[in-house]
């Protein structure tokens, strides 16, 4: 399966990646092995992006390719819904309709085999609460671009406490005006400065069950 990683690192044609995954599954490869290769590829892409070797477009394209590969895996498991790593609710907070950063994180999470419920932009606190209750999500990601809307994140976290769902979810926040200090102040469990960091934090939530903020 090393070729799949090479295809993703080389920004290969989408159809080529899909065909490669289909062929591997047909020849008896375990889906979990394919997932491992995809995660390995994404981690390498993340490393290259953080070091300045790769640019944003390459990070995004690798996410697109990995997402297409996971769709082939989903289709292959025809007997039932394939279980994902965890369920993540994502949204841009109320009053803010900017979504470029949030959309990249959503795509990268899906590529990393998380189930993502994307609530879109201008999401009111009650919508986050309702989705946690109805969908049983374990993680909530909130994004904001504007200094004037970033305080909505605390309002959402306070709503979680008030509505009795705070203990059920880990909360990660990000966006241009968000800092680790701010995340700590509002009671979030994690903070990420970019999509690569967001995936690491969410993985830690699942694997370690804990927060990254110190």
């Amino acid at each position: 399966m090393s070729t799949l990683k090479d295809l993703i690192l080389g920004m290969a044609d989408v159809d080529n990646v899909k065909r490669h995954v289909s062929d591997a599954l047909r020849s008896g490869e375990e889906p979990s092995k394919v997932i491992d290769v995809l995660n390995d590829a994404l981690e390498e892409v993340g490393r290259r992006y953080e070091s300045g070797e790769y640019f944003l477009s390459e990070l995004m394209m690798a996410g697109i390719l990995a997402t297409e590969a996971t769709k082939i895996l989903d289709a292959h498991m025809a007997g039932g819904k394939r279980s994902k790593i965890a369920k993540v609710v994502m949204g841009t907070v109320k009053g803010d309709i900017h979504d470029i950063g949030k959309n990249i994180v959503v795509m990268m999470l899906r590529a990393a085999d998380f189930e993502v419920l994307d609530l879109g932009v201008d999401v009111p606190p009650e919508k986050f609460v309702e989705t946690i209750r109805n969908e049983g999500a374990q993680i909530v990601g909130m994004s904001a671009l504007l200094t004037s809307t970033v305080d909505q994140m605390k309002i959402v976290i306070d709503a979680f406490t008030k509505q009795g769902v705070r203990g059920k979810v880990k909360v990660i926040v990000g966006g241009r005006p968000v800092t680790e200090e701010f995340a700590r102040e509002i009671g979030a469990d994690g903070y990420a400065e970019d999509a690569v960091e967001a995936i690491k934090v969410v993985r830690d939530f699942v694997q370690l069950g804990g927060a990254r903020l110190e």
């Binding site: 920004m11 044609d13 989408v14 992006y49 953080e50 300045g52 640019f55 944003l56 477009s57 390459e58 995004m60 394209m61 697109i64 009053g95 803010d96 309709i97 900017h98 979504d99 470029i100 959309n103 990249i104 795509m107 932009v121 504007l146 200094t147 004037s148 809307t149 241009r176 005006p177 400065e193 970019d194």
Partner: protein, 367 residues
């Protein structure tokens, strides 16, 4: 020396009497606070949202009044829509602009923001009729601003950079997918917008613009959004053609981009006349840019827009003084924030930036 003379001398990389001051944009709630008046209409920093000339007069007049109240040296104005355009409104409240972008109204800033696109597949671009730069009316805002503001203030026209324009037209995810899967499509789309811009540059220069600003980001906080070879092969050749068109009409072209531009600074400096925003939060040091490129680049910036929102007045005063100290000596510097005055910014801080600019920006610089 009047405001226009001050700006023009700065654009020639010479010292005027004092450092000119302006902003590339001020969000509606702040303009209302500055003028004490209600904005006549919603607007957009990225595109045209109305062809109604009475609304346009109201919008432009309101902005001119705001800039006059601030005593800014340059009025920055965008393009109007062509005369016969009718915006397509969707039942869900969104609007489709001339470029196929689906816009949503941000209630907070009362600005229309790109949200989605009509381009769902690469073939959609082949079927799409791009706007015609020869249609009458694109330069209406420039003409009207010049008329309202008079001859003693500089007028700059803000156009959209082809890369950023296509990035938004297609949405970032589609752009990236097609950039790798259909590279000729992306190249063609950028070339088409560049050709459009070249004609528009000629029109707005004739309408009275003193300089052109090409807005749209090339970079994010970590660095360029696309590989450097894409700049060399696609972005820079198209940028150069627009700069040549501007120079051919006797006006300069300033490139605006947020983010960490350090990896592409050398390439940009070889093409454009000036740079904004020299984003300090992304690690751009205006002093270093001045040191290396001050003999050929006009620098516009760079009080951090985030700091205008969260820092104290005293901190903004010190930051502005530092900015003048590093960028103003020798001329070629226009003081502004590192983006626009967004509505999250404290008005007190914005005004502190201007007051400090006036106090310490007299040549020779002694701050």
């Amino acid at each position: 020396m009047n405001k226009r003379e001050r700006v023009l001398r700065t654009l020639e990389l010479r010292e005027p009497d004092r450092v000119p001051i302006t902003e590339f944009g001020i969000e509606v709630p702040l303009m209302e606070a500055i003028t004490g008046k209600k904005a006549p209409t919603s607007t957009s920093e990225q595109t045209q949202v109305t062809a109604d000339r009475e609304l346009e007069k109201g919008r432009i007049g309101f902005k001119v009044e705001c800039y006059q109240k601030l005593d800014f040296d340059a009025i920055v104005i965008d393009l109007s829509a062509p005369e016969d355009w009718i915006p397509r409104k969707n039942p869900n409240g969104t609007m489709v602009d001339l470029w196929g972008r689906v816009l949503m109204l941000d209630q907070r800033s009362r600005a229309w923001v790109p949200y989605s696109t009509v381009f769902q597949a690469p073939e959609d671009f082949d079927r799409f009729e791009l706007p015609n730069p020869h249609d009458p009316g694109w330069a209406f805002a420039t003409e009207y601003a010049r008329r309202e503001a008079g001859e003693e203030v500089a007028v700059a026209t803000f156009i959209r950079d082809p890369f950023a324009h296509v990035w938004e037209m297609f949405t970032p995810l589609n752009f990236v997918r097609w950039m790798y899967q259909k590279p000729q499509l992306i190249r063609r789309a950028i070339e088409e917008v560049a050709k459009f811009n070249i004609e528009i540059i000629k029109s707005v220069a004739e309408a009275g613009a003193d300089f052109i600003i090409s807005g749209g980001d090339y970079c994010e906080e970590k660095g360029p959004m696309v590989p450097l070879r894409f700049f060399d092969e696609v972005i820079f050749p198209n940028l150069r053609m627009q700069v040549d068109a501007a120079r051919g009409r006797g006006v300069k072209l300033i490139k605006h981009t947020d983010g960490n531009v350090n990896p592409i600074l050398k390439g940009l400096a070889a093409i454009v006349d000036g740079l904004h925003s020299l984003d300090p939060t992304a690690g751009v040091d205006i002093g270093e840019v001045k040191e290396h490129y001050g003999d050929r680049l006009i620098l516009i910036g760079n009080v951090a827009v985030d700091n205008l929102a969260k820092n104290s007045r005293e901190e903004i005063v010190e930051e502005t003084k530092g900015c003048i100290r590093k960028a103003s000596p020798g001329g070629g510097h226009i003081l502004s924030s590192s983006n626009t005055w967004a509505s999250g910014a404290k008005l007190e801080n914005c005004l502190a930036m201007v007051e400090t600019g006036r106090k310490y920006g007299t040549y020779p610089i002694r701050v």
